[in-house]
């Protein structure tokens, strides 16, 4: 089954939302590849287009107002954007599954959690109701909830438990790709680590590829093999976690690192990135990061950079590297 080169191969994806206030350019011409069983982090600020990317992969962009303007999404061999609804329903849940940001609202309040897990199993596997129920119980135990709670309703569970149930729903049909959209943002810090551990253990067990959407670089370092940094609907830097963390290239990525507290230099000040993300209805003409970039030159405001390879695996989208001696501050001090 895993004969395909990539678990996920997205190319030239553009997503827009047509609203009365103008066209929101949420995702602009991005490429994203995830090899089988690998984990890729998608990092960026709120509003960078991360969730839109995820929903596009499921072909679940709410329409109207959302439109997938162009692009190709191949999901383990399935061409997601050119499939009939009935075929898509077969792919969703079995080939690709998704964990959502807010566990509080992601479960249906009037159905018990057993029903919600079983539903997915019954849709994708040829089993009887009893077998599905048994599988659901096992799944529940797998995510660390006692099987006696299978008839509980969502309102009877804590936030962390709800997220566990959602993980159970996502993994019960053994998908090739798991999309985790900020899976721990809405949880308490102490629960976050547990849930991340759970995801990472289950992923190893099921050999699932993962797209992990987050704004937390620490989580990426822990959980991912590769990372794509997204800004205003574009990927500005992509590489292995090692490359992006130790040999940071893009000024925006640098800004993200600078705004993190440093554990071994507690006296250093946090350096937030000055300014705000551009209005996605009116993206600037040149590099979208130029207005906030401390290295910005005239050309940055006029010309739009493209992703250029630095090594086999490392790409960056920045005009400054047209000057071969350019280096960002972070790399000058030798880490």
């Amino acid at each position: 089954m895993d004969k395909h080169e990539f678990a996920l191969d997205v190319s030239n994806l553009t997503v827009e939302y047509v609203t009365s206030d103008g066209i929101v350019h949420a995702v602009n011409d991005i490429d994203l590849k995830i090899p089988p069983q690998k984990s890729v982090g998608l990092v960026g600020e709120t509003g960078a287009g991360k969730t839109s990317t995820a929903l596009a992969i499921m072909n679940l962009i709410p329409s109207p107002p959302g439109v997938i303007r162009s692009g190709k999404i191949i999901l383990n061999g399935y061409d997601v954007l050119h499939m009939k609804d009935s075929e898509l329903n077969q792919v969703r849940g079995s080939e690709v599954a998704m964990i959502f940001q807010d566990p509080m609202t992601a479960l249906n309040p009037v159905l018990n959690i057993g029903e919600q897990i079983e539903e997915s199993i019954l849709l994708h596997e040829d089993v009887t109701r009893d077998e599905a129920h048994e599988q659901a119980c096992e799944m529940l135990e797998m995510v660390g909830i006692d099987r006696s709670r299978i008839y509980d309703y969502p309102h009877q569970l804590s936030g962390g438990m709800k997220q566990r149930v959602i993980i159970a729903i996502a993994l019960c049909c053994n998908p090739h790709l798991l999309i985790a959209d900020e899976p721990t943002t809405a949880l308490d810090v102490t629960i976050q680590a547990q849930v991340l551990d759970l995801i990472s253990n289950l992923r190893d067990e099921y050999r699932t590829a993962m797209l992990l959407i987050t704004h937390d670089l620490g989580i990426v370092a822990d959980m991912c093999d590769e990372v794509s940094v997204m800004y205003a609907g574009r990927i500005v830097e992509h590489g292995t976690v090692e490359e992006v963390f130790t040999n940071t290239k893009h000024p925006y990525t640098e800004g993200l690192f600078d705004s993190l507290p440093k554990i071994n230099d507690r006296k250093s000040l946090l350096k937030p990135i000055i300014g705000l993300m551009p209005d996605p209805t009116e993206l600037p003409e040149g590099c979208t990061f130029a207005p906030r970039c401390r290295y910005a030159m005239d050309k940055c405001f006029k010309r739009r950079p493209s992703l250029n390879a630095i090594s086999d695996t490392h790409e960056v989208s920045c005009l400054a590297y047209e000057d071969p001696v350019f280096s960002i501050e972070r790399n000058k001090h030798g880490r």
Partner: protein, 311 residues
């Protein structure tokens, strides 16, 4: 949970006491009294006074009220001044007609309006949605008694399909039931639509779709059940209003139900009949709303949980 509903049921007692006091007081302001009604205009002043004294009509309101309630507890709601028949029995004879009309009208309304509400929510912003919503707004703005007259003109007088009024076989039921249904339909379709629109945007619908649940099933299984609470509320209120407000529809179609009984009794100043009928109708409506509350708990486990905690 049962204890909660028992509590609610007991709570009806003080409410009904208040209702009966209010009704009793307002009846006291009705022009004319039993003596006038029973003895007629020919009676002399002395005869009237004698009758009032003999039947305790000169006692203060509260004394008469206590006497009435004491009898009520014994199951005696008094005797009609006009027909001389037992109030409770007369009411119960008329009640099935009113219930039949209210429930058939409501069933008709539910059958049409909920699908309309769901379709318009799914097709929001399309021509179909716009057209159906304009029609429902017209239905909502149309006085029920006028719609009744129009239906009589169209289907009874011009086409001759149905009788203009009265009761008997199914044919008599059609026009009044449709009249009642149209008014309720407009309200219900609009509620269903807005409630569905709200629910369809919820995260759990997206979760369901991400599992591979089809759009159709996500709408009917996941969304509709969540949208049902406001819909049931409106059904309850509308059913209550078609029982309590049955007088209009029954007047237009000369339907021999409770509403007409009350109207006739009021015009004849048949005070025991009016008092008894009003108390019984109010009780019926209050009980109906209690049943609606019970249904909530079956639809939404969160509400059930609340009740259990309140125990």
């Amino acid at each position: 949970m049962y204890r909660y509903f028992l509590k609610r049921l007991f709570w009806l007692i003080p409410v009904m006491l208040g209702v009966s006091i209010f009704i009793f007081i307002i009846m006291d302001f009705f022009p004319g009294d039993a003596a006038d009604t029973v003895l007629g205009e020919a009676a002399s002043q002395e005869q009237l006074e004698e009758y009032r004294e003999a039947h305790g009509l000169n006692d203060p309101v509260m004394v008469r009220y206590v006497r009435y309630m004491a009898n009520l507890l014994k199951g005696d709601m008094g005797i009609s001044y006009v027909t001389g028949r037992d109030v409770f029995k007369t009411y119960m004879q008329r009640l099935p007609n009113t219930l039949l009309l209210a429930f058939s009208g409501m069933t008709l309304a539910i059958l049409f309006s909920i699908p309309i509400g769901i379709i318009t929510a799914l097709k929001r912003g399309t021509v179909l949605d716009g057209t159906l919503m304009i029609i429902s707004l017209l239905g909502l703005s149309m006085p029920l008694f006028w719609l009744g007259l129009l239906l009589i003109i169209g289907f009874s007088l011009n086409l001759g399909w149905f009788p203009t009024g009265g009761s008997g076989d199914l044919k008599h039921l059609v026009l009044p039931a449709v009249t009642l249904a149209v008014a309720k339909m407009a309200m219900l379709a609009r509620t269903t639509r807005s409630s569905m629109l709200e629910v369809l945007n919820e995260d759990y619908i997206r979760t369901a779709r991400a599992k591979g649940v089809s759009k159709r099933k996500a709408t009917l299984k996941h969304a509709l059940r969540n949208a049902l609470i406001p819909i049931i509320t409106v059904i309850g209120i509308e059913l209550g209003s078609s029982l309590g407000g049955s007088v209009l529809c029954e007047t237009v179609f000369s339907w021999p139900g409770v509403g007409r009984l009350i109207m006739d009794s009021i015009s004849k100043r048949d005070i025991p009949m009016v008092t008894g009928s009003l108390i019984l109708t109010t009780m019926l409506v209050a009980f109906l709303l209690l049943v609606v509350d019970i249904i909530y708990a079956f639809v939404d486990p969160r509400i059930k949980a609340q009740y259990q905690r309140k125990k």
